[in-house]
């Protein structure tokens, strides 16, 4: 596979000098080292430029996987510290134990190791491998060596136990796409049975240091000693509380959440103390790196780390550049992570499905890190139950809001209910994943939900036939089946809307595509509202006695459902308004013309909505219908229809119903603002005339992350 290409890029090494082979790679019993350079050179001379050695199983496609040795872009081994193994590095004094024979310097160096480990940990969380981060620490790679040094030893063991716990959590939740790098631990000494006992060692070390802070002095200058003691203590305590927080969070059924919150609060407090130690540590060290980039609080480079030692454990693909986060950034990261974990721990474990979905959607808005998302998923779905506590049949029954259904054994074991339960589990897991992957998966599962709705409908027709459309009193069974069908359809629409709105968050649409997206959203909102209204009305038709018994609770539920339905109508008006306004601008203004070189709007419509069309969500929607609805849109008509005013009216009327819910109130305010700004923009455009060449209408997500606001500018 040699090439005689002269332009560079080819492997440069291996001159014909017969250099001695490296001693640390020994010859075996049947093996001997020989210089292959002359042979390779001769082979090179045999090939002309542009020729390639060709074999049956070796094509050009296969050749693409070739790596050029010693090319730093491709060869992970080239960036080498010079040590071929951990043992060689240790022999050369890279990771001494103790770190210094001077006790103060020893503490200083230990603090640097702790800080750099924290920075590595944060770097790992942010998308790199353990091998290139936490396990670049020789003290962690050979933990037994640190036994004579209680402080370092206990810190390393709790660190390793924490990494192990986090890897387990994320593995159990399962990772997606490039997150696979997170759980890779091949060849690393990650697990060790004794690590949980390390906490007791850490506790005793903490106690010792604490006593030293109060009574003894490490050396003659008491001021110095106090600062170092404090710095050590807060780091130890952070480690301890972080490990406890994670352990508590893994307790099933949310039993450990309250205690986890206490540990999280303690972590945040210790992180604050760590940050405060920055000034002291920097003022007591020399040769410092800038605080902004340094991976330690002191600004000194830590001893005991070598990134290249694990390079053989990495996959053979070209190496990812690993830049360890600065210590300050690492502390910020952990603060952020802890706040997300706290949010999870504060969740009320509301048994209502709608609350769960709403919570996840809200949680995901600020793009929480993988570790947080994994823990959320593990809390929500455990042992095939919600919170490890409620069966999904119960969850569905509650969501249906039919009073008789909850304890009904037949309902619990109905095959459709069980299947829907599985779909719900899958949905919740998907919603906890990273949004890029999540959106693709949501598009795919539409098919599953659509299929089960069709099966439900067929089963209904089979069982009840002509009875379905008569006004005769329905049997409980028929009523429940009907409601189940409608409920399944509503969830399908919910998924479709999440799929579409995530497209805005992921920036998958260009402004010229907003019109079709809002139109599709409008159509789905309309179907969702329709279905929900039928179900609510049908649910309120109850027989005599039971109505009295459950009156208060049921009417409360009904009111909530009606309010939610109104909220959907609000979104529907906004979507329709935006779709029609954008369609009118496209029809009447030159500024909104679309590309037409290789394809037209039709192809882009087909592509964006392919999965929705395939699952027929909703039915009978096509590009032609979109075209028909929007081809004659004009600004003056859109003004007349007053979509935005209608949205404002509904939003205002809902304030009473959501008065106890600050989040919903905030959402209503946003809707009002979006509606108001667009209404004004529409009026201005109407007055100026959409065809005015000086008119520019940029679209901005200034108020809401799905609903755009039109801004009118004259150039």
């Amino acid at each position: 596979m040699a090439t005689n290409y002269e332009g560079g890029g080819g492997g440069g090494g291996g001159g014909s000098g017969g250099a001695a082979p490296p001693k640390s790679i020994p010859s075996g019993d049947d093996a001997v080292w020989a210089d292959a350079a002359p042979l390779i050179e001769a082979a090179c001379n045999d090939l002309q430029e542009g020729e390639l050695v060709h074999g049956e199983n070796f094509s050009l496609f296969a050749a693409m996987s070739a790596l050029e040795i010693m090319d730093p872009k491709m060869d992970p081994g080239i960036e080498s510290s010079g040590y071929c193994s951990v043992d060689e590095a240790i022999e050369n004094g890279i990771a001494p134990v103790p770190l210094s024979f001077d006790r103060t310097v020893d503490v200083k160096h230990t603090l640097d190791v702790m800080d750099h480990l924290l920075a590595c940990e944060a770097t790992w969380h942010n998308g790199h491998s353990l091998a290139q981060t936490v396990f670049s620490c020789i003290y962690i790679l050979r933990i037994e060596r640190t036994s004579p040094h209680p402080l370092l030893h206990s810190y390393c063991r709790v660190m390793r136990a924490t990494c192990n716990a986090v890897v387990s959590a994320v593995s159990d939740a399962r990772t997606h796409e490039e997150e696979d790098l997170f759980t890779m631990s091949y060849g690393l000494p990650l697990k060790d049975g004794g690590d949980d006992k390390c906490l007791s060692i850490l506790n005793s070390v903490e106690e010792t240091v604490s006593r030293q802070l109060q009574f003894e002095s490490l050396q003659t200058n008491p001021d110095l000693e106090e600062g170092y003691c404090r710095a050590v203590l807060c780091r130890l305590r952070f480690r301890k509380h972080f490990y406890h927080a994670l352990t508590c969070m893994r307790k099933p059924q949310g039993r450990g959440l309250e205690l986890a919150r206490k540990h999280i609060a303690a972590c945040l407090s210790e992180l604050d103390n760590m940050f405060k130690s920055l000034d002291f540590l920097r003022s007591h060290s020399f040769y410092q790196e800038s605080a902004v980039t340094s991976t330690t609080a002191s600004g000194c480079r830590p001893i005991g780390f070598d990134v290249s030692l694990n390079s053989r454990l990495l996959s053979p693909t070209p190496p990812r550049a690993v830049k360890v986060l600065s210590w300050i950034d690492a502390v910020s990261y952990f603060e952020k992570l802890l706040h997300y974990l706290d949010t999870i721990c504060s969740f009320s474990l509301d048994p209502a499905l709608e609350s769960v979905l709403h919570f996840i959607v809200k949680f995901q808005l600020s793009q929480p890190p993988l570790v947080a998302r994994a823990h959320l998923q593990l809390l929500l779905v455990h042992d095939g139950k919600l919170y490890g506590r409620d069966s999904f049949s119960d969850v569905i029954a509650r969501s249906l809001a039919l009073p008789d259904v909850t304890k009904d054994k037949e309902f619990q074991t109905n095959e459709f209910v069980l299947q829907l339960g599985q779909l719900l589990i899958n949905l919740i897991k998907i919603l906890c994943a990273n949004t890029a992957w999540q959106r693709r998966k949501l598009g795919k599962i539409l098919q599953d939900w659509s299929v089960i709705s069709i099966q439900l409908e067929l089963a209904l027709k089979r069982e009840f036939g002509e009875l379905l459309n008569s006004s005769v009193d329905e049997s409980v069974c028929m009523k429940v089946s009907k409601h189940l069908l409608m409920w399944a359809q509503e969830q399908t629409y919910w998924i479709a809307l999440r799929f579409l709105t995530l497209g805005f968050e992921l920036q998958l649409y260009s402004p010229s595509e907003y019109c079709m997206v809002y139109w599709y959203m409008y159509v789905i909102f309309m179907k969702q509202v329709e279905t929900m209204q039928i179900r609510i009305v049908a649910g309120t038709r109850r027989k005599g006695k039971k109505k009295r018994d459950h009156h208060a609770r049921d009417s409360g539920r009904d009111a909530m459902a009606s309010s939610y339905c109104l909220l959907l109508q609000c979104y529907m008006c906004l979507s329709e308004g935006l779709a029609m306004m954008l369609a009118a601008l496209r029809n009447e203004s030159n500024a909104f013309q679309m590309p037409n070189i290789f394809n037209s709007e039709q192809e882009r419509f087909i592509q964006h909505f392919e999965l929705l069309q395939k699952a027929q969500v909703p039915e009978h929607i096509s590009y032609h219908i979109f075209k028909e609805s929007t081809a004659h849109a004009c600004i003056s008509d859109v003004v007349k229809h007053n979509y935005f005013r209608e949205a404002q009216r509904i939003a205002a009327s809902l304030k009473g119903s959501f008065s106890a819910d600050p989040e919903r109130l905030a959402e209503l305010r946003l809707i009002e603002q979006v509606a108001e700004h667009n209404r004004i923009a529409l009026n201005v455009i109407n007055q100026v005339g959409a065809g005015d060449p000086t008119l520019r209408v940029p679209l901005e997500f200034t108020h809401h992350n799905h609903f755009v606001v039109a801004v009118v500018k004259r150039s």
Binding site: M1, T3, Y5, G7, G9, G10, E49, G50, L52, L60, F61, A63, M64, A66, L67, E68, D71, K73, M74, N126, G127, H176, E177, E178, E179, P318, R320, A321, N434, T435, A436, W437, R439, R440, L506, Q507, L508, Y509, S510, E513, P595, N596, I597, F598, N599, S600, Q602, E603, R604, I606, Q607, H608
Partner: protein, 184 residues
Amino acid sequence: MAAAEIEYVSYGGEHHLPLVMSLVDDELSEPYSIFTYRYFVYLWPHLTFLAFHKGKCVGTVVCKMGDHRGTFRGYIAMLVVIKSYRGRGIATELVTRSIRVMMESGCEEVTLEAEVTNKGALALYGRLGFIRAKRLYRYYLNGVDAFRLKLLFPRPDPALLSANKDGRHKQHAENSAESSPIYI
């Protein structure tokens, strides 16, 4: 410098390979071995174009096409224009030429990946009718996300095909780019 001063040439052979390689090596962050280049230019020389200004190679596009899960699809692997020559439509012209060849060869769609931060590329492909079909989390070695961009060519209207007596209504998309037959 007028647009007419740029000369566009289809890949002509080994003598063009070093030009393509050095442009791509200099400008793009992903590492490629020489075998990667050879794979593309040997199998699909008619899909690689170079742009010259006064004898100097200032831009190139490298592509492939083939069957992908039942779809005949074009793929744009690399697109580079030297910094000082950007903003003059050279990249658009290079890409357009490749896409035309793909279309004429019967491709149903064209796809590529681009960094989410690469506004220039996103605008260029958007103008040609590509949509952002997917977002790929941390796709690149530097941790940046990517968009998968896709251009779908128009398909022949199925209403025209169903009138045919021979039963040839399931015309395969590979034939879509050939001159459309007239049905009775």
